[in-house]
Symmetry: C2
Subunit: 323 residues, 2 copies
Amino acid sequence: MKDANHIRHAIGVDFGGTFIKMALVNERGEVKARVKIPTKEATGQEAWLDAVGRGLEQLREKKTPGSGALSGMGVGVPGFVDFERGFIYDLANVPGWTNVHLAPRLEQRFGLHVRVDNDVNVMVLGECTYGAGRAYQHAVFVTLGTGVGGGIVINNQLFRGAHSMAGEIGHVSIRMDGVKSPQGRGGLEQYVGNRRIVERAVQALQQGRPSLILELAQGDLNATTVELIARAAQQGDALALEIFDFVADCLAAAFASVTYLIQPQAFIIGGGVAQSGAILFDPLRRHLAERLSPVFAERIVIKPAELGNDAGVIGAATLAMME
Amino acid sequence: MKDANHIRHAIGVDFGGTFIKMALVNERGEVKARVKIPTKEATGQEAWLDAVGRGLEQLREKKTPGSGALSGMGVGVPGFVDFERGFIYDLANVPGWTNVHLAPRLEQRFGLHVRVDNDVNVMVLGECTYGAGRAYQHAVFVTLGTGVGGGIVINNQLFRGAHSMAGEIGHVSIRMDGVKSPQGRGGLEQYVGNRRIVERAVQALQQGRPSLILELAQGDLNATTVELIARAAQQGDALALEIFDFVADCLAAAFASVTYLIQPQAFIIGGGVAQSGAILFDPLRRHLAERLSPVFAERIVIKPAELGNDAGVIGAATLAMME
């Protein structure tokens, strides 16, 4: 075991729409200290830099004395990024962040080595280095939420494609004549995004399908959530199980295409829906096997993500420790 | 320009179900001499090795005197191969080739460095090194025929995935509830394979759709071929154009998924149908643009393959010259 003095540390920053989460992370992927700042208290670039500066000081104080200088700071942001230049083109849902050279600004201000990347890429890196993907050289990470994001790891590195935009598994089409969106037709996200799942349940309930979901929502259709549908499914509710089976089959259809194309060793699934356990993973594995020839099916693994809400800060710190 | 004596040469072998094609190819990708052997005259491993040995002698005689030793021999075979070991698991449509250590046997017999790979991989390598893909580091190659094959080039190298089976674009699903096959549901090949295209035309003709196709087939539905449908389309026939538009849209649906996932710079299309020109490529480019958000659409190129029937022998020789 290495001496504590020789274990490297870095700061991971997970810039979300609700919170800016910061953590001191060591090279074993362990979170040693945390800071959480409400995003609305740091509106605009200057206020954001100030808030991150204060967070950095708090984290520095918690570092083991004598454990050496920080390896740097990694930042995951919710939007389009030019990773090489540490440049933000634009952020989704956070105003005031168009065309920002974030990495050089942070480096200048804090005297640290800084890397900036898209938040999903950062989570993928965290999961694939320290989480569910750590045993695989080739893995595909999928995060299920309002949207469906993803990332591809090839030879233990994030695969970015020709123009840094690869890994958009949420836009892989499962129905060429399916739901239209700005990204095309029949994209996976149009069927398994949180809102779509809730819509499916509400429609069935409105048509009078009896279900535990309505009871759990205390009769209020507007109170229907994915968590609630999952709870109903876990208690054996037919409608809820049917909805999870459909979600699993949609995921399987996309995963089959991904497998035929790039043949990863594993799919790692994160995000809210992924916490549903067997009601999602059992039908997902079964449907994927139905949708692949055996020679492909028997070589593929599907696993839930392991780092949970820490994937962002751990991945961001990993980014800074990588080179 | 290099002195002729310093230009490397290798032998490329394209092992097909109908012909074994061999060629002497130089490091510029130029075919300097050819030999063509009917596959049925070389049945079984021993007869095949004898035939290839005779072909090798003929090609050696045509080499410029003094141009040095051959760099080796590359072989493309129609089936599952372990590229690292030069081992054939099994060949489709060619009996007697199960579990064969082909590379070591050829090396021993002919005293040459030998590489063996799947025929589609070999074509991809040829097209991406010397053909339509030579300007791209990241490209996806698709070959349209009875089946739909493919290969992915990342950083100028064939991408093989976790177990050497990646690149099966023909099995990418475009309809999750679509045509069943041993490879799953709704695979691209089930819609744009030659037989499926002909079936579509024949069905419409049987239903009494007027079309130039019937005239070109001289009233014989069984004489309908893809080439003939293409000729009708080129003459403005409505049914034939409709069929090509459908084929183009199916390809576009799969290409959109591939683009969102791995974002290549280009798609290179080879095989019979790809020779149809504008009647395929125009609707294909239009449909792909409809199926991608502009930021992806404007960065993608679709081109026909350039090496035609020589892609196999050139690619096989390239394999031998690579290291």
